[in-house]
Symmetry: C2
Subunit: 350 residues, 2 copies
């Protein structure tokens, strides 16, 4: 064995090394790199060359200590159980966030927690340790305690959901949250459906309320009551259970609207297993527009809410809150229905 024990880390160069290499003081290096102070173009270039030569980047810890800024944003995901159903949602969100954060040298610190108490405790700790500059709050609730908490902690934050000027922290999202569901109801009405049921998410979530309200309102405008409204915890298991119960109803619904695509797919499976044809006997609408929905059989009719773009807008809002100079978030539009094959008129059995 020639290399019995691997040596530890190859020491990283410090600002001192760069200063020495460029023949200037460390202050000059700092100014050259940050574009502050008064440094001649010639020495600036010397410094920058020396820096790349040595492969030096300013230590994030040192800079964070000095500037009281970590260039890190937190995303805390609450996941009471294995809620895989809402996961693709997060992956889209993260994509949108990263697209704005990464180019500005910001990092995304991801944490998973079981419940709201843990989530709040986590924010307190992250702030107390000075680990983050801001936070993205997902799954807005009615009477959400987090905006007030973070505001109290002095931490910039954005809450995802419909925009709302009165919120303690900025709210980012597509306007007219209910528009997609409303569109779905109109679509189903046009297809001749009169008995629709809505499978909602957890009652405490704000978007659950907004969408449910849109559903009931749109239906009421046609002079119809919903056949049924059921709350769920977003799990696939719940989708199956609720679907079975609804299909066993004496006057069963001819159309089901789900709060996400995974549940809708499971609902379709359940209906098919019960011997029903989709959409011949039952129409199904999802939410989120996962790419999966384009390929299942029948292809899923769903609502697209552009999670990725919302993520990008959230990132910009947050960066602005951190004192970063970013173009203001542009987020127009509203959730839109994507009509595919899982909805249609009732057809007589072949």
């Amino acid at each position: 064995m020639n290399k019995p024990l691997e040596g530890r880390t190859a020491v990283r160069p410090t600002i001192k090394a760069v200063a020495a290499a460029a023949g200037v003081s460390t202050a000059a290096v700092s100014q050259a790199v940050n574009g502050t102070g008064r440094i001649s173009e010639a020495t600036r270039r010397r410094v920058l060359d020396a820096a790349t030569e040595l492969g030096w980047s300013p230590s994030a810890s040192a800079t964070a200590l000095r500037r009281a800024r970590t260039r890190t944003i937190a995303l805390v995901v609450r996941r009471p159980t294995d809620v895989l159903g809402s996961d693709p949602h997060f992956s889209e969100l993260i994509t949108g966030l990263e697209g704005e954060l990464a180019p500005r040298g910001y990092g995304l610190l991801l944490h998973l927690v079981a419940d709201m108490a843990q989530e709040n405790a986590l924010y307190e700790r992250l702030v107390a340790e000075g680990r983050i500059d801001g936070a993205v709050l997902t799954d807005a609730r009615a009477d959400d305690p987090r905006p007030a908490l973070l505001r109290g902690l002095g931490l910039p934050a954005v809450l995802l959901g419909a925009p709302d000027a009165a919120s303690p922290v900025p709210r980012v999202g597509l306007g007219q949250q209910g528009a997609g569901i409303r569109e779905a109801v109109v679509h189903l009405l046009e297809l001749g459906h009169r008995r629709m049921a809505y499978i909602a998410g957890p009652a405490e979530l704000l978007h659950t309320r907004l969408r449910l309200h849109a559903f009931e309102e749109a239906l009421a405008e046609a002079g119809l009551p919903p056949v049924a409204v059921r709350h769920s915890d977003f799990t696939e298991q719940a989708a199956v259970d609720v679907t079975e119960k609804l299909l066993a109803l004496p006057d069963r619904p001819t159309a089901l609207v789900f709060p996400n695509d995974s549940m809708a797919v499971c609902g379709i499976g359940t209906a098919q297993r019960a011997g029903l044809r989709v959409p011949g006997d039952l129409s199904v609408v999802g939410y989120d527009n996962l790419s999966l929905g384009r390929w299942v059989h029948p292809r899923l009719t769903t609502v697209d809410q552009q999670v990725q773009r919302v993520g990008a807008a959230a990132a910009r809002t947050l960066l602005a809150g951190c004192g970063e100079d970013v173009p203001p978030p542009e987020l127009d539009g509203r959730p839109r229905l994507v009509v595919r094959e899982s909805t249609g008129p009732l057809t007589p059995p072949a």
Copy 2:
């Protein structure tokens, strides 16, 4: 307006404030909190009380600077395009990682990149800035450049995949990577299938090779050749395209084995759209055991590889590499076939 302009952050207490409150020096506080040095039990308690009283936690930046340790692990996800198919995989992985990291005060820094070049550049930057203590490498390739790179950078890392003592960085994963696929082939053989096709992932990924090899070997042991082997990029689009092509073959396969569940579900959809019954005319096997698969119609036969447990093991290995005192990772078992409804014997049309 009584509060015309909200004041900035409520200043966080420092170690100095705690020292003053407890009537000791800052050094004493540090020692009391870290359990180092010699401090009487009485003063230790006074200090700790003062700390909680003031809501103080040591500044992560200061500690990181002093100790050259950030208590942060990087997870870089390469995502050439919208590979939602592999996402649930990541969410499981993250769950497993977090379960070990969080209790020890470690954070997970998540980054998304487009390709391997960007990924390598990112590691170099993160190390140069001293932002991370370790990294989790996913999607091992044949001749993967990353282990050598990270070793050169002096950064602890683990590579996910089958264990391998000869790797520059520890490799963590279930042994016998091919066992699940082999089991699937045997299962299909027992059902009477003789014409099987394998849809593989990108050829450069290591697990693609291992699984493909297992598929061909198991088939060869039965004296059979594969009907076809097709590589794909993990997208649902690819699943549909490949399935259509395979089903159009003159002597079409009676069983399809996919490299993940999303693709398998799309494959089923494609077959159904072509008028085939699953499993009556075509059996389908997935990989990953997403919860979605339990509820689609027909329920998906798939391979479970316990991604979450692999994540936990990876975290422990990494923590050990960071000098943390953790119980050694325990990871026995192998990928296992989960038989459900999407596989079965060929049945004559009703």
